[in-house]
């Protein structure tokens, strides 16, 4: 049986990502591949509250992690406007070089005045904030890269 290439795994990751499944186990000969969507066993995030004029404490949104060459790319869990800081003029949540834990908030994604906080998802060191401040990010677009601890 042919070997599973890196491209194959990327393709499988994409399929799993686009599916409703949280977990995939694949056995091909000697090879065993187990994929689990991050937070698959954890309860889903509560639905976002109704819009309010003042930004309220943001809710965490789980994001799948995609590994890549230069650290792990942290993708946007939803489409919206990406903010580096909790409010205009404030210090950014994280800067390159910062050490983060999985639950460290790295940014906010705003959708129609609703603020959704984005946790790092993995522990490590921030390499780069890829998505610009105050601009639209697509669902799945890379927000930042983190070198896993």
């Amino acid at each position: 049986m042919a070997e599973l290439t890196r491209a194959d795994i990327d393709e499988i990751l994409k399929l799993v990502d686009g599916s409703d499944f949280d977990e995939l186990k694949l056995e091909m000969g000697d090879l065993k591949l187990e994929l689990r969507r991050r937070g698959a066993s954890a309860p889903a995030a509560a639905p976002a509250p109704a819009p309010a004029p003042v930004a309220k404490p943001a809710e965490a949104v789980a994001a799948p992690i995609v590994a890549s060459g230069g650290g792990s790319e942290i993708p946007a869990p939803l489409l919206g406007t990406f903010w580096h800081a909790p409010r205009p003029g404030a210090a950014p949540f994280v800067r390159p070089g910062d050490v983060v834990q999985a639950d460290t908030i790295v940014g906010i994604i705003e959708v129609m005045k609703l603020m959704n906080s984005v946790p790092a998802g993995i522990a490590g060191t921030v390499l780069e904030i890829t998505a610009p401040n105050g601009e639209l990010v697509e669902h799945g677009q890379t927000l930042l890269r983190i070198q896993p601890a």
Binding site: D17, G18, S19, D20, L78, L79, G80, T81, E110, V111, M112, L114, E135, L136, E138, H139, G140, Q141
Partner: protein
């Protein structure tokens, strides 16, 4: 007068391409909002830009009002086209666009409310003097007999609180009315805790005929009618324009009623008023108004030469309609076949998958609206429409002949489609004679060996 520069398209599939086509002709940039499953679709490649709204399921992407408006604003769009289906008749989207200063390519939020639910739409029809299916609520057997006199038989008894066929009875003559009424009221009481019922005329032989409306809010025009009687479980399969063998007076009455309805609710956009034509009685009844572009709009474009999407955009920009009723001339006959990725021999089960070959060459008189190309993926999350074949002919026979040629020539491989069913319909003597009713396809399928 605002002129649209960049248009957000909140849809997918062939209609996204149809909108891109007109936008390109008008020099408007397009941004297509796609789900993750559609990021490699032809529309995503052909739009000026595509943005991923969210995961594949519609509820996480194409049905998210906030996400779509945020995406439209964030990409610098000044207008939004909702296509058909999804959020096309969603008042919240139309309102959110208005609130955010985006031009919604569709009717006003008030228009959407007026046609949004059947009861409101029906009351507007009555107020506009547009005929509805004769009927009314009854409380006693005496009421029922009196009303049944005016409705005629056969009729249907339906529970006011109803749904799902509970408390619904067909009554074929006056003698059986009292007993059936008792049964229906008892069932309604048991099922819904509400014994109230209403009587409604039952149309044994009906045709689905709809009228294309164009309006800028001041001028109300029609672009002729379409016959969509070839349907299965309310899913249209073959449509044509004009409606064949429709008596002249009936047709005229229908067109005028549609315009009257649109004027009554102050409709402003492209829209369609649907009617049920009661063939034995030679009457017609209002069904509903669709406040969006229809899947089958190309047959109207084929016989009028109009670009309905361009007109829809012009009206949304605040322009007045650039034509009068007399300038809309209907020429020849057009037929549309909806090619679906589904298997008619297996209860029309959807057959998603990868298209290995797609070829729709320019056959004379043929127009193809499709998002298919070799290698295209048909995801399992959305409807199964993969292509619309539209043929025009000077006569209906010519349009049918051209469609049969198109079905022979065009290639779509890798997935199972309903093309063989289209061929069977187009060669069936009853369809070729024209004027079939809504029972037609259901009766034809068993003769083709297709389980229904």
């Amino acid at each position: 007068m605002p002129t649209i520069k960049r248009l957000f398209i909140a849809n997918r599939g062939e209609i996204a391409l149809r909108i891109i086509r007109t936008a390109r002709a008008l020099g408007i940039e397009t941004v297509l909002g796609v789900s993750q499953a559609d990021r490699d679709s032809l529309g995503a490649k052909l739009a000026t830009r595509a943005v991923v709204l969210g995961p594949a399921p519609s509820k996480d992407s194409y049905l998210r009002v906030g996400t779509i408006v945020e995406a439209a604003r964030g990409t610098g769009c000044d207008a939004l086209h909702p296509g058909y289906g999804f959020l096309s008749e969603n008042r919240d989207l139309a309102q959110a666009c208005a609130d955010e200063g985006l031009i919604f390519i569709g009717p006003t939020p008030d228009n959407l409310t007026a046609v949004g639910d059947k009861l409101t739409a029906r009351s507007h029809a009555l107020a506009a003097g547009v005929p509805v299916v004769p009927g009314g609520t009854v409380e006693t057997a005496e009421d029922a007999s009196a009303l049944a006199e005016t409705i005629g038989f056969p009729l249907l008894i339906k529970a006011v609180a109803g749904g799902g066929g509970k408390g619904m009875k067909r009554v074929d003559d006056a003698a059986s009315l009292p007993a059936q009424l008792d049964l229906a009221m008892a069932e309604a009481e048991a099922a819904f805790g509400d014994a109230r019922v209403y009587l409604e005329r039952f149309v044994t032989v009906g045709r689905h005929v709809e009228v294309q409306i164009l309006s800028d809010g001041a001028t109300f025009l029609h672009a002729g009618e379409r016959d969509c009687s070839v349907q299965r479980r309310y899913q249209k399969l073959v449509e044509e324009a004009p409606a064949h063998h429709l008596p002249g007076a009936l047709r005229q009455g229908l067109l005028e009623a549609a315009v009257r309805y649109a004027r009554h609710i102050g409709y402003r956009s492209l829209g369609t008023v649907e009617f049920l034509v009661d063939v034995p009685r030679g009457e017609f009844y209002f069904l509903e108004m669709n406040a969006r572009v229809q899947v089958e709009h190309p047959v109207t474009e084929a016989i009028t030469g109009l670009d309905l999407i361009a007109l829809q955009i012009a009206v949304a920009e605040g322009q007045t309609l650039p034509l009068t009723q007399d300038q809309i001339r209907l020429t020849g006959h057009a037929i549309e076949c909806r090619l679906n990725a589904e298997d008619p021999t297996r209860d029309f089960r959807p057959s998603p998958g990868r298209v290995t070959q797609a070829w729709f060459p320019p056959v004379t008189g043929l127009r193809v609206d499709t998002h298919m190309q070799p290698g295209a993926m048909i995801p399992p999350y959305y409807d199964s429409l993969v292509a619309k074949l539209i043929t025009w002919g000077a006569t209906r026979d010519e349009a049918i002949a051209r469609m049969l040629t198109a079905l022979d020539v065009c290639v779509l491989e890798g997935v199972t489609t309903n093309a063989p069913l289209h061929r069977a319909i187009l060669t069936d003597p009853a369809f070729r004679a024209g004027g079939v009713d809504t029972n037609y396809l259901g009766a034809l399928l068993p003769t083709l060996g297709v389980p229904t």
